[in-house]
């Protein structure tokens, strides 16, 4: 079925598309038919820059389980990174 379920968020960063790196402005996350993944429905993530041509897109299509793993992995990695930065700052203050 075509669900039409889409969530959008502004993002800052870069993505690598078919023509190289470009500035990202938005991420669109949908739960709908994938284009390529052999699934009826997928969690589709499109990093885009709407000021550029429609091909300025970094896309992934994930199974729901994979999408959950990705979300957890991102949060875990982010937490470790932020802890690391806090600890580094604390060490430099002590030193």
């Amino acid at each position: 079925m075509c669900t039409g379920i889409v969530e959008t968020a502004e993002v800052k960063g870069s993505g690598k598309g078919p023509n190289g790196w470009f500035k990202l402005e938005e991420v669109n996350v949908s739960y709908d038919h994938p284009y390529d993944a052999p699934l009826e429905h997928a969690l589709n993530i499109d990093f885009v820059n709407l000021k550029m041509a429609v091909g300025a897109r970094v896309a992934v299509e994930l199974s729901p389980e994979s999408a959950r793993k990705l979300a957890e992995t991102i949060l875990t990695t982010l937490a470790r990174g932020e802890d690391h930065m806090k600890n580094s700052e604390a060490s430099s203050e002590l030193g």
């Binding site: 079925m1 075509c2 669900t3 039409g4 889409v6 959008t8 669109n28 949908s30 709908d32 038919h33 284009y35 390529d36 052999p38 699934l39 009826e40 589709n44 499109d46 885009v48 041509a53 429609v54 091909g55 897109r57 896309a59």
Partner: protein
């Protein structure tokens, strides 16, 4: 049913062209037609949500192979150009394409087909998934179609919460205006339309005395024609295409 034999001439021309659609815009379209003076019936082939893609090029040629002037407008034209999946992703993010836009693009295609010297002035409309819904909508809201084929069109039955400015009215509410015979092909494992949705539509068509033919395939879900997707089901797909050609032959072919 129109049949090919090994001793007959067959030729086809398939190419991109343009047509006037919504808002007077000149949009691009894919036109496949049998060669010869005709007269040939026509079919407007509305592409599905994943875009104006290779599969729809193939389906358009399939209709031409069976003797139809087959015309597939790019209903995503206004979202820009790129690979079909990139354009479809942009449309998805934009909340889909507006019903009025699709209807006018479809009407422009209908007018174009009927204007051709090789047309027999009979034209049908075909769609799958989101375009199955749009084919039904076109058959209700536009005048001039002689047959419609809705393959697993989801969102014909919509709750109030599902209505949007782009899709302001549930197509089922137009059932009383259906202006041509309708063929519907569905799978009993589909989640949209569910068998219950199909039943509701059928009740509405019965209520208004409409000419329709529905087939519900067991053990088939959404998109069972798509040979490149996991939901492909060989038997229902083969049978479904047979039913489509029997149906449109009956309502679109005129004796020559």
């Amino acid at each position: 049913m129109h049949r090919y034999t090994t001793d007959m001439y067959e030729g086809m021309l398939a190419e991109t062209t343009t047509v006037q659609g919504f808002n007077g815009d000149i949009i691009n379209a894919y036109f496949a037609r049998p060669l010869g003076p005709g007269p040939f019936p026509g079919v407007v082939v509305i592409h599905h949500m994943p875009g104006w893609d290779e599969l729809y090029r193939e389906m358009t040629r399939k209709f031409a192979h069976h003797g139809y002037l087959a015309f597939s407008p790019n209903i995503y034209y206004r979202f820009g150009h790129g690979s079909p999946d990139d354009v479809a992703a942009k449309v998805r993010t934009s909340g889909g394409v507006a019903d009025d836009s699709v209807l006018e693009d479809t009407e422009g295609s209908l007018r174009f087909l009927k204007s051709l010297p090789q047309s027999n002035k009979k034209v049908g409309v075909f769609g799958t998934c989101s375009s199955g819904r749009q084919a039904f909508l076109a058959a209700c809201r536009l005048k001039g179609f002689d047959a419609a084929v809705d393959c697993w069109g989801g969102g014909v039955v919509m709750s109030k919460e599902e209505l949007t400015p782009k899709r302001p009215v549930a197509p089922i509410d137009y059932a009383k205006d259906l202006s041509c015979p309708l063929l519907g092909l569905f799978g009993d494992e589909d989640q949209n339309p569910t068998p219950q949705h199909v039943h509701l539509l059928e009740e509405e068509l019965k209520k208004y005395g409409k000419n329709y033919e529905f087939h519900m395939y067991p053990k088939a879900g959404h998109g069972f024609f798509y040979y490149d997707r996991p939901n492909y089901r060989q038997e229902p797909a083969v049978d479904g295409w047979k039913k489509i050609f029997l149906f449109i032959e009956k309502y679109l072919r005129t004796s020559t």
